[in-house]
């Protein structure tokens, strides 16, 4: 039997007061899996986990912080930033999805 996918914030709030519950780490992993699989949509062009082939011809993204990455993705989406494919792809994601991707793939400071 399967359980419903739970949004992490809701799970976290539901967890308050429920100490020692063994499923907590599992719920976090389910959410982590979702974030990883969403971010993996970028990997075809920008490399597994955002680590692209060095000198491979594709712009590398793993030098960007999450903030820089999100700003760039949003600029592509709004049309403020020009490009070949990225303005077209960025428009296909929700803002929430772009934030998730930027948090997931951006360089941790």
């Amino acid at each position: 039997m399967q359980v419903k996918y739970l949004k992490p914030i809701l799970v976290a709030s539901a967890m308050v007061g429920l100490s020692q519950w063994s499923g907590l780490s599992m719920a976090q992993t389910a959410d982590q899996l979702y974030k990883r699989s969403l971010s993996a949509t970028c990997a075809n062009c920008h490399g597994t986990d955002g680590k692209g082939v060095v000198d491979g011809g594709m712009p590398l993204i793993n030098n960007l912080t999450s903030e820089q990455m999100l700003a760039k993705l949003k600029a592509y989406k709004s049309g403020a930033l020009e490009g070949t494919i990225m303005p077209q792809l960025a428009k296909g994601y929700t803002d929430e999805q772009l934030t998730t991707i930027a948090n997931q793939l951006g360089k941790k400071q």
Binding site: M1, Q2, V3, K4, Y5, L6, L10, V11, A14, L18, W21, S22, G23, M26, A27, T29, A30, L33, Y34, R36, S37, L38, A40, T41, A43, N44, C45, H46, G47, T48, G52, V53, G56, G57, M58, P59, T84, I85, Q88, L89, A90, K91, G92, Y93, Q97
Partner: protein
């Protein structure tokens, strides 16, 4: 959902989770996961099953070939500007770096009841989860005389990259001066919508340099160019004036190998010097044999949330073999994306979690109009729960305005990165 409702529901869910947690943890590393086919879909699925499970899933990949040869970029081999070696990657990185067991063999049968697969060598393997990504089969019998002509090497397909890709280039290079290369395209859907038109560009680019009076004749069973139509037509007119003749609604029904003649459904026969006949396509043989091809006995219907076959439980089918969602191309990029959704879903299922209810897919597809300049088409596909399918997002995606060298650099960048993402 209000908070009270949520708390009520979550209390029930929590009880459930607590009960499930031991079973779930046990299932993932214990499950036997087999992947059939090490192409864009299968290799990516094998790798991402390991990554998404933090290397706990047991994954075995079954593939008859010793190395992966990419269809994307292979038109450049036909055009003579690149070698097949440049688009060949070894499989052993998947075992060395990711701990995937690789069996060099092909699957001859799937027993979905017993959850067993039989290999050509006679060995049998059991599975808990099976991923099937066998690509396409070419229906040589859909065109009279083609099966024999292809066997004899008189006509080539080169639609599965490998020895025929090189052989087709050699035939074009050996063509008499002023000769005609004829390419036939089946009715869509077929593998890689823009692929044949890119091939026409590549052959014309070669002939322009080596056989300038040579001709390219494109016989297309479709009403018009299936992908990037305006871009291809413009490139043909500007870069290869008078060289490429395009005939839509031209359905080839027979091949006379001796006289190098193509028989058409409506128009007169066509004689050419080199024949590249692409027949109707269907899911890879093993998918058909296993009873998975439940869409017109040709393609496999899947549940798009996890890519599980609608015919068989615990068999997940990816890539070109599936019945596509609207505007979803049969592309390597797409097969790689299917694989990630399926891998995440399998890891979730074996962990006792519901699969992600909102998966996303993208596609980008680059076509070389000569050996350096490229045009692209891109799209984003979000899962639509109400219609249980993927839908492209209005306002997103699109085409290049014109061929460019910059996109040529990105096209190679795409290839090197997707090879690394799928096989590295």
């Amino acid at each position: 959902m209000d908070r009270r409702h949520f708390m009520g529901q979550s209390a029930a869910v929590l009880g459930l989770l607590a009960g499930l947690s031991t079973q779930a943890r046990a299932n993932l590393p214990k499950a036997e996961i087999l992947v059939i086919g090490g192409g864009y879909g299968g290799a990516t699925a094998a790798k991402y099953l390991r990554l998404f499970s933090n290397n706990t899933a047991r994954v075995t990949l079954i593939e008859p070939n010793t190395a992966f040869v990419s269809c994307p970029m292979s038109n450049l081999v036909i055009g003579g500007s690149r070698s097949l070696a440049e688009m060949t990657s070894p499989y052993d990185t998947l075992s060395k770096r990711h701990g995937i067991k690789i069996i060099q063999d092909s699957v001859s049968n799937i027993d979905a009841e017993k959850k067993m697969v039989k290999l050509a060598s006679g060995k049998t393997l059991r599975y808990d989860k099976l991923v099937v990504s066998p690509g396409i089969s070419l229906n040589m019998n859909s065109i009279e005389g083609l099966a024999q002509a292809n066997k004899d090497g008189v006509t080539l397909q080169a639609w599965k990259a490998g020895p025929e890709t090189v052989a087709l280039h050699k035939q074009i290079a050996a063509m008499r001066e002023g000769g005609t290369f004829a390419l036939t395209i089946p009715e869509a859907p077929y593998r890689c919508p823009p692929g044949p038109y890119e091939r026409a560009c590549q052959v014309a680019n070669y002939l322009k340099q080596h056989n300038p009076r040579g001709k390219v004749l494109v016989l297309d069973a479709n009403q018009d160019i299936v992908s990037k139509g305006a871009l291809f037509k413009k490139a043909w007119a500007e870069q290869y004036p008078g060289m490429i003749e395009y005939r839509p609604k031209s359905n080839v029904i027979g091949v006379d190998a001796k006289n190098k003649t193509l028989k058409l459904e409506v128009e007169d026969d066509v004689k050419a010097d080199v024949l590249n006949v692409l027949p109707q396509m269907a899911a890879g043989e093993i998918a058909i044999k296993a009873g998975l091809a439940n869409s017109n006995a040709r393609w496999v219907n899947v549940n798009f949330l996890n890519f599980e076959s609608t015919a068989r439980k615990d068999i997940h089918v990816l890539g070109d073999a599936i019945q596509i969602a609207p505007l979803m191309p049969k592309s390597g990029h797409m097969a790689n994306q299917h694989a990630k959704v399926a891998a995440a879903a399998i890891v979730a299922e074996l962990s006792g979690w519901e699969v992600n209810p909102a998966p996303v897919l993208t596609n980008t597809c680059y076509s070389f109009v000569n050996d350096r300049e490229v045009v692209h088409v891109a799209s984003v596909h979000q899962y639509n729960a109400a219609e249980k399918t993927f839908k492209t997002v209005p306002g997103s995606g699109g085409l290049s305005p014109a061929p460019s060298i910059l996109e040529g650099i990105y096209a190679w960048g795409w290839a090197r990165n997707i090879w690394a993402d799928s096989l590295g």
